[in-house]
């Protein structure tokens, strides 16, 4: 039986790599590869352009955040010695030696930039925007203007963050900004205007995310193509949907808390400030508030935010992994349920950030149980990923390598999480480098490797060209090795009681001998930082010089691969109809090829024949 391609109007849908771009004779013109790029500086309401705007902004911010991290690492390896660039320019009179509040600024802003300007927007903003309409077969988001606004609200936030550097050396109270340090302007150099600007920036990011999440929920619920039932949605869409729900419910709390803190700082309210506190010989506080309230409110958002920073990557990796293993995802429904379980449990575990905070110890016990249980859906997902690869024909390209790294690193990050979920053990490792190791394994090791894979996987859809696979592999190997050299020793540092956010830990006798290890980690971090230039070079170079490709270079199943690369305005040249789930790779229904696009109709007789033959 010959291949059935129900719509002959789809030149690329058959996976035969039609070189059809640039030709205008096809009825549907293929747009020029860089058509999306040229729209970047415009106030476009096209979801693809907005996605790309998010992607390129976040890649730039990734470099900024990375540079800040290198500053941190430099100080930890060569404390009080001349710091290149930063020390040379700002601390010339001190011989390039930075001030301690500059170190805490670097720590704070590295976290703030990476979390709020890189990871959250690259997942939800960049890939969410780009993929949701394409994967569910919609021509755009439900609210295109709102979507554009969600991107453009990033810029005032970036401006606030940037402006904050000019007040008191920049915000330096940690990305968690615990009061009273952040509530009393006298408490530290950074607690003045810088802190207010940081909080405003945070609120603006929140507004941006909120607009996105409303849009994603509406789009996913209302605009799916015919036949795209909920359980035929790719896991990327599921994860985006659940992320959007998480954001919609958690964000208002942070926004409220942010406003309360701004009010405490500027209007003289005392939500978080107890009475009679004297800081820096300023007048005693009037008070009546509770600093712990901030921690509860902050973590009520920020713990779900950890999953906001992870779930979309899980979804995308599932998509890529199935495609690159040429096999259906193992346990599609358990994958969906575990996503939902992570999200649901994610709302009742925030207290594990506060085990040593002095909150009611009974709360500690309940939070411990819920926190430990959240490891369960994560474990289920991991097993399913392994099941997906099991017996598959694995394509070891840069995309797949990043996905495998995702799984491997997520295992490390997940297992180290069990230590801190256990309260008594957490007493010891709380606020040490063990925590730093854990969240870098999850946020960088898992999420960013997932993103690196996703960038290379969907790049052809964005620009009609492939990214260079060799360069991608070199980037992967360097990043993976340097990443592990940088962050794995942090576990051991944490066990050695190495505290976080210390500008100079080595004047404590019990930490002195850890300097050489830190220097090793710093060298690895520098290698890792510079490796990202490879990614940038590959990304921007491939836009112009990459190998041209057709609609479906990976022979993947999703609806997005039935569109031209890059898709024109309105995405689909033929309104898609969805006939299968997204992971029917190597299905017996398709004899001559190892994939079955969601748009490909298989006649009933053939399905019955296959069913009878025992599949």
């Amino acid at each position: 039986m010959s291949t059935v391609t129900p719509d002959v109007g789809h030149p690329g849908a058959g996976g035969h790599d039609h070189d059809s771009h640039g030709h205008h004779g096809h009825g549907h013109a293929e747009p020029s590869p860089l058509s999306l790029l040229w729209q970047l500086p415009t106030f476009s309401c096209d979801h693809k352009v907005i996605g790309l705007q998010f992607l390129i902004t976040t890649l730039m911010m990734l470099m900024v955040g990375g540079a800040l991290a290198l500053g941190v690492r430099w100080q930890l390896a060569f404390p009080w010695e001349r710091m290149p660039i930063l020390g040379d320019t700002i601390f010339k009179a001190d011989g390039g030696q930075i001030a301690p509040e500059t170190y805490t600024m670097l720590v704070t802003m590295h976290a703030s930039v990476m979390i709020f300007l890189v990871i959250i927007p690259i997942l939800a903003g960049a890939f969410g925007n780009f993929l949701i309409p394409l994967q569910i077969g919609a021509d755009d988001m439900a609210f295109p203007l709102l979507n554009a606004l969600s991107y453009w609200f990033m810029w005032p936030a970036i401006a606030c963050f940037a402006a904050s550097f000019f007040f008191g050396g920049g915000p330096a109270n940690g990305w968690t900004s615990y009061p009273l340090l952040s509530a009393l302007p006298e408490a530290s150099p950074a607690s003045g205007m810088a802190q207010t600007l940081w909080l405003i920036g945070l609120t603006l990011i929140g507004v941006s995310s909120m607009m996105g999440s409303v849009n994603y929920m509406t789009t996913i619920i209302n605009m799916r193509a015919p036949g795209m039932t909920l359980f035929r949605m790719p896991l990327t869409i599921w994860s985006m949907f659940i992320t959007a729900i998480l954001q919609a419910f958690a964000l208002p709390v942070l926004t409220a808390a942010g406003f309360m803190l701004v009010a405490d700082r500027t209007l003289g309210t005392c939500f978080f400030i107890p009475s009679g506190i004297v800081v820096n010989n300023a007048a005693p506080t009037i008070g009546g508030g509770q600093p712990l309230l901030w921690q509860h409110l902050f973590w009520f958002y920020s713990h779900p935010a950890v999953y906001i920073m992870l779930l979309p990557a899980m979804g995308m990796v599932s998509d890529m992994m199935a495609c690159m293993s040429r096999k259906p995802i193992f346990g599609y429904k358990p994958m969906v349920y575990s996503l939902a379980a992570i999200a649901g449990l994610g709302f009742i575990v925030w207290g594990h950030h506060m085990f040593t905070s002095g909150m009611n110890p009974a709360l500690g016990m309940t939070f411990m149980v819920s926190t430990i249980l959240i490891a369960l859906p994560s474990a289920v997902k991991t097993f399913n990923w392994l099941g997906t690869m099991w017996g598959g024909r694995i394509q070891f390209n840069a995309v797949m390598l990043n996905c495998i790294a995702f799984v491997s690193m997520f295992i490390v990050g997940g297992l180290s999480g069990i230590f801190m979920a256990a309260v008594p053990v957490d007493i010891y490792i709380h606020d040490t480098y063990f925590i730093v190791a854990h969240f870098h394994y999850v946020l960088f090791g898992a999420t960013l490797f997932g993103c690196f894979g996703a960038i290379q996987f969907w790049f052809p859809k964005m620009f009609g060209r492939m990214m260079n696979d060799t360069l991608g592999k070199v980037h992967f190997v360097l990043t993976f090795l340097a990443f592990n050299c940088t962050f794995f020793p942090m576990h051991l540092l944490g066990v050695a009681g190495f505290p976080r956010r210390y500008a100079d830990p080595y004047h404590f006798p019990y930490l002195e001998h850890l300097l050489p290890l830190n220097q090793f980690m710093t060298i690895a971090a520098i290698v890792m930082g510079f490796s990202q230039f490879l990614l940038l070079a590959n990304f921007f170079g491939s836009m112009f010089f990459g190998k041209r490709c057709g609609r479906n270079p990976w022979n993947a199943n999703g609806l997005e691969w039935s569109t031209p690369s890059p898709p024109g305005h309105g995405n689909f040249d033929v309104p898609p109809v969805c006939y299968h789930g997204p992971y029917e790779y190597s299905s017996p229904l398709s004899h001559d090829k190892d994939f079955l696009p969601q748009t490909e109709y298989v006649p009933l007789a053939q399905r019955q024949a296959v069913a009878q033959s025992g599949h």
């Binding site: 660039i85 010339k92 011989g95 010989n281």
Partner: protein, 513 residues
Amino acid sequence: MLRCKLSLPCWLPLMTGLCVLVLTVGCGKNPEAQFAWRDSTLDLLPKAREGVETAVNDAFGTPHDLVAWDKLPVHFGGVQGVVQPPAEGEKLPANQFHVQWDGSPDGVGAGSELLWMTGAIAKSKHPTAVVVKYDDVTKTLELKSKGEAPAAGDRLAVGLGSQLQLGRMVYMKNCNHCHGVAGDGNGPTAQYLNPRPRDYRLGLFKFTSTLSSEKAAREDLDRIITYGIPGTYMPSFLLLGNNDGGKEKAAVVEYVRWLAMRGEMEKRLVDELSGDYSESGLVTEAEKEKKSYADAKSEYDKARKAGNKDAEKPEPAQALSQLKKAAGEELKKFLEEDFPGTINDTSDFIADAWKRADDPASLIVPTVARVTDDAASRERGRLLYMSDKAKCYTCHGAKGRGNGPAIEDFWKKPGSNDTYARRGLHDTWGNPLPPRDLTRGQYRGGRRPIDVFARVYAGIKGTPMPAFGGTVLKDSDIWDIVNYVMSLPFEEQIPSAKPAAAPHMAATEPVGQ
């Protein structure tokens, strides 16, 4: 559309370029830390400024090239000795000789740096050498250089300045970000702190155990570093240097003293010159002359108009450039003839003052033991506190809350007729200084009775807190005040100061007291 079939090699240059750019920017020249000069030094005429800077640099060096000037009473570290003639019949190679040490040659060993102080080598181009081996039994030094052999009687120093170097290292790690490279209290963090970090350059330290006319003793600085100053951002460095036997702490004390001497030297030299040779001074003078000429001219014109032919025509005012020229010539002469003497006198003065501070005779020792801390003593103290003799209440307030009437006044700046822009007291550094709230139980200079005694006896240096000891109050009076003041934080718990409550207190006194 740009089309290019080249793949990998095509953007490798792009990537390499970016990396090279970052690396070149990052690996630029190492900036050197600088001792910042006083504003008044920078205000001097170029030649005068050069004179001061040269004098101070000659005596103290720069952060990367410290000078250990043996005139200063600073423990620079290292040990000195004299070359001994070889024993009779002994044959030593040219690079080996015996030494008679002044102190104990603890740190001397392979790698130590040696400096010739006297003798032929000291005057040569390379007065330094590196120790290869030292034998403490025969007291034999072996040097790396095989040049000229030293003569017996030549003085040498090994490891000179090592303590100062260590002090600087410790200082840059722990103190620099508040107190600044030059000890000017102007490090990067300083501007955010209240009170501001101490500026050592006046040679003044507030909390000392020495008489009011004396500098701070080493022990005082050590105490402050060890225990910190509660109520300020000066933290306790109790565990500085871990268990090195106080080496780092001693080194940083020396370094701070040395910075204070350097700052005071600069200040005194500038003060000597700034009256006549400062840019702003000359500008003011030119303006003054211009004004007086204009006045005289109008007077003269008036007289001429009135027909007074005898009126003397005023000399035209000198322009700024003329004034500068005149000052420059005068300055040249001054720098050549008088300035070396000034430098000498100033350094003598500073060295003497700091030497005296560690003399036991400068210590405050109460002539009587602490008066028994009972209700009667506290009451006597309270009366003294409120008396016209001590007038403590004018600043510290009737209840000791630091809210006396003086904080409402505009105070005069020392050495001028201007008043401070803000109400209230100021210290010598010009920073606002609220009188201490005595009810908080926070004692910046230490909470031992002797500390509080010293505060009252010798005042607090650089602040309006005057010295009462010796002249105004007897030692026993001061103890009464100390007893009263130290009971203030507990007034609610032990109503000692109120006479009515005295019997109750007496009842709790142990028998026999």
